[in-house]
Amino acid sequence: MIAKPYALFKKDFSSELRTRYAINSLAMFIIVAISVILFSIGNETINENLTGGLFWVVIFFTAMSGLARAFVSEEERGTTLTLQLIASPSTVFSGKLIFNLILVFCMNLVIAILYSALFERFVVQNFALFLLTFILGNIGLAVASTIIAAIIAKAGAKGTLYPVLSFPILLPLILTCVQLTLFSFDGTSFEEAQFEVAIVVGYDVIMLTASYMLFDFIWKD
């Protein structure tokens, strides 16, 4: 059950290690985005609301710059047909999803570490809540961006359309995650934040189910 998606993931992972395209571009994008923010705020101290918002802005645009690779690279190398022959659609989607999940977790970990080092007001009071938000938000981000990447790869319009299509889909997730991040800065307890947590959990579950059901239609044509 898990062996085939894992094999596909290993293929992606080793080809990624060979070229290091996604890792390099994501790392540079994070540095560029954060330094632009640091230049524009100068010597001023920005408040907590803005810090929490900018944290998710950087996460969103970094994801948009790198996660489309998963399917676009297959189309570019012309290996889509081979994949269609040797694996079922759900296996392909699982493999790509595992790859994107790991990529999203690494990238957001780097962003979080850089933020806590560089921004004064990035002080997390309720660490457990922040960790929960971080994990749930990353899962939702990875699932949604993987399915949109599959659409983009088939649509042929590689770069520009990706954030346009992803933004409305990700908006409920990002808005709720910004709210939860602010809660964790304020030290709000779990009981008060449970409704927002429930929204994020619901989003993840719905998105995962819909993606698995709809991926067949995108993949087979």
Partner: protein, 241 residues
């Protein structure tokens, strides 16, 4: 023909009545509207703003239903129906946004304040825009229909967060929000029967108008596709294609 005249009379009556009938403290005559605290004279926008917002959702729902049917049957006519519904949904979404912003200018003091309702209508506007951007980027008909159907279904599972959950749980200024104490559920309690009558007549009139426009829209799309195909591959047995 007869129902087109009926629709014209209905919408004309709703427009005149909605704008001209006075709002008074204690309505006695049948044409007088009650005074709703918190809404006051601005309450009249309900006859035009609510139907457009309602049709935005209906169009989105229909677009998704026909997308689903396209994925099941692979019949391009279903895609034309979904596309036509989405086009109308975009128009009504813009109308709802604009009428809402105009109302907000007089009720809240500024056109746009990122109230939860405004955020949600903005997100729906973005989804429609993204759908059209996706459609225009794909050449092949089947692929365009499939991918836009999949996208509109993915969008449809996230949209309930916006339309139904978020505006009702978050604190906002829009009537019907979580902390709304004075304007409350406007339709149920604070309208008198004449106001309700005109409100529902307006809702019915706009819905009929929508279905009429939708039918004209999808038929014209189907006919246009047919003519395009004839131009590309004429019936002669030569090298069409």
């Amino acid at each position: 023909m007869i129902w087109k005249i009926f629709l014209f009379i209905l919408l004309a009556f709703v427009s005149i009545a909605g704008i001209a009938f006075p709002i008074v403290e204690k309505p006695s005559a049948w044409y007088e509207f009650p005074f709703i605290p918190g809404l006051e004279e601005n309450a009249k926008i309900i006859f035009f703003h609510v139907p457009t917002a309602w049709l935005t959702v209906i169009a989105f729902l229909m677009s998704t239903v026909f997308s689903f049917r396209y994925l099941k049957t692979k019949n391009l006519d279903e895609d034309a129906k979904a596309y036509s519904a989405a086009q109308l949904g975009m128009i009504f979404c813009i109308l709802a946004t604009v009428t809402g912003a105009v109302w907000a200018k007089f009720a809240w003091g500024q056109f746009w304040s990122w109230d939860p309702r405004q955020t949600s209508i903005f997100a729906i506007l973005l989804i429609y825009g993204a759908l059209f951007a996706l459609r225009s980027s794909i050449e092949s008909e089947d692929k365009r229909a499939t991918l836009s159907a999949v996208y509109s279904m993915i969008a449809f599972v996230t949209v309930p967060f916006f339309i139904f959950i978020m505006p009702r749980i978050m604190k906002g200024l829009h009537p019907g929000s979580a902390d709304d104490s004075n304007a409350g559920p406007v339709v149920d309690f604070q309208m008198n029967s004449s106001m309700q009558l005109i409100f529902f007549l307006s809702l019915i009139g706009f819905t009929i108008l929508y279905f009429w426009m939708w039918k004209v829209g999808y038929k014209s799309i189907i006919i246009r596709d047919k003519i395009n195909k004839q131009l590309i591959s004429p019936n002669s047995s030569g090298q069409g294609g």
